[in-house]
Amino acid sequence: MFGLFGTSDSGSARVQAIEKKRFWMEGDDLIVDMSTPFVEHIDEGQDMVINMGPQHPSTHGVLRLELVADGEIVTKCTPHIGYLHRCFEKHAENLPYPEVIPFCDRMDYMASMNQDLAYCVAVEKLLQPKLPERVEYIRVITAELNRIASHLVALGTFGNDAGAITPFLWCFRDREKILDLFEWLAGARMLYNYIWIGGVARDLPDGWVKKATEFLDYFEPKLESLDGLLSFNKIFIERTANVGVIDKDTAIGYGLTGPNLRATGFKWDLRRDDPYSIYDRFDFDVAVGQGDHGPLGSCWERYYVRVRECRESVKILRQALPNIPEGNVMEALPRRVKLPKGEVYVRTEAPKGELGFYIVSDGGGQPFRCKGRSPCFSHVSALDYLCRGVFVADVVLILGSLDVVLGEIDR
């Protein structure tokens, strides 16, 4: 477990506590002892340990939360991860570079294009192929469309967590249109394997750009109607605006990135601050929380930053779609990917936050080490801070507003 998270500090009190409890590992076998509570110092008469998940519908995947509740108030929340661990990093060490991409798809399966883009940008930083302009444009367009799709799931499920079913269905209806576009483009609905090292898998089909523009025309009014339906609903605001507040410094301290950090009012977007691909050519604003309702960094702000980001993505798409240059998308595809010796870390702005890939190459055709920096992992680590002193029902909301995907945390 310590190897998995990169912890080597066996002397710290926390690690010792884990060893004492023999919580995870016993010898070499993976043993999860569900009966022993992780938390120490439980007041037997006062506190109650509630096990939420791993099959709880509101944990958005297989996340197990161990809540210590004093009546209705949560005093401690310990997330347990690892139920979806599929050894991505170890698999990557045994596969040639292009074959890692289908595994990257399955990290954050809500935004596969963004995962592929991050991995390919990392590999290309070492490989240095001469990418055609057309490829760069297609990549940005697919990544932004997928960002919208990912945010729509986040918005819809957050509404669902708060008890509103209609926005959930509306968001999924609109997301379906994006998935249709991707199915036409890449052949698959969720796991595309479309962005390849040095190019993309195939060129845009005839009429795809027109269909994508039509989608934008369709989508913008729908986003407005989502405002009326859910975002500015007084009941929804009352329910979410003062829950799970995290201030800017604490958020940075916990390593929050992406919409969750921007909701605290901090303008930090890697597309603007550390541009990769061709994001520096587009004119867009960084969506930040503005404190319209309640304090900054609350659940409502985290929700609404995602709505604003959808608008910014539409803005980027409007600039990119009419300007795709002609060219051959396959011309820079290497026949065999063999990287020079070296190591590289590339961070990109995935829908969930800062997604990084650290790749060490020993000069062969397979990565020597491939590490993914998952934004959701940091978000889950802030859960204990956010959940202390809130009602049990609010834990569901806080988790929904953080928008974690377990496939990415466990990899």
Binding site: P102, G187, L191, N193, P205, G228, K234
Partner: protein
């Protein structure tokens, strides 16, 4: 007290906006589809069930090499010279018996990487997607033209034939060598001395 009524008003107002939206939705076209009765049309490049046109397969093993999950199993044997396997529809000569070509669709991750290097374009992803089965074994699709028993027999036969061919080839080579050694009337003993340990090894 004023705030209380203001909140009530706000709640009622925003609720009515939302309800008006949903009400309008009643008169719109439905977006759902009654799935088993009506189906949407898949785009031509959709990634569905893998299919191999075995008549065109030359058994080059490239698809199995690029598969990230190793779900393609190929066994081949070289055809003996008296057997002509013909050509594929793309004109590539077939030189190998494809004894086994199995695809485990339960393992397949539908990435379509295997269809890219195929030189005869015989391995394709079809549009079929309703392939549920009751037994996991049924998800292993066999494409080879031979049953396992036939494959075993063919392998034995072909191996024997190939060994015989290699033998006659070797003998012909030896005879050629001996002839070449004998022709210069042995003024130099060196090539003959070289030929002798060779034949000794081969025997």
């Amino acid at each position: 007290m004023k705030g209380y009524f203001k909140d009530m008003y706000e709640a009622g107002r925003s609720l009515s906006i939302g309800l008006a939206l949903t009400m309008r939705h009643l008169f719109q076209k439905t977006v759902t589809m009654q799935y088993p009765d009506e189906k949407w049309e898949l785009p031509p490049m959709a990634k569905g069930q893998l299919h191999n046109v075995i008549e065109d397969c030359i058994g080059c093993d490239q698809c199995a090499n690029v598969c990230p999950v190793d779900c393609i199993y190929i066994e081949t044997i070289k055809a003996s010279s008296d057997v002509d396997l013909g050509k594929t529809s793309t004109g590539n000569p077939k030189r190998l018996h494809v004894l086994r070509f199995d695809i485990d669709m339960a393992k397949c991750c539908y990435c379509a990487l295997c269809t890219v290097p195929c030189p005869t374009e015989c391995l394709v992803m079809t549009n079929s997607y309703e392939n549920s089965v009751y037994d996991r074994k049924d998800l292993i699709y066999h494409y080879a033209e031979y049953t396992p028993a036939q494959a075993k027999r063919l392998r034995a036969e072909t191996e024997a034939k190939l060994a015989a061919e290699a033998d006659t080839k070797k003998k012909a080579m030896e005879a050629k060598k001996a002839a070449a050694a004998a022709a210069p009337a042995a003024p130099k003993p060196a090539p003959k001395a070289e030929a002798d340990p060779d034949s000794g090894q081969e025997n």
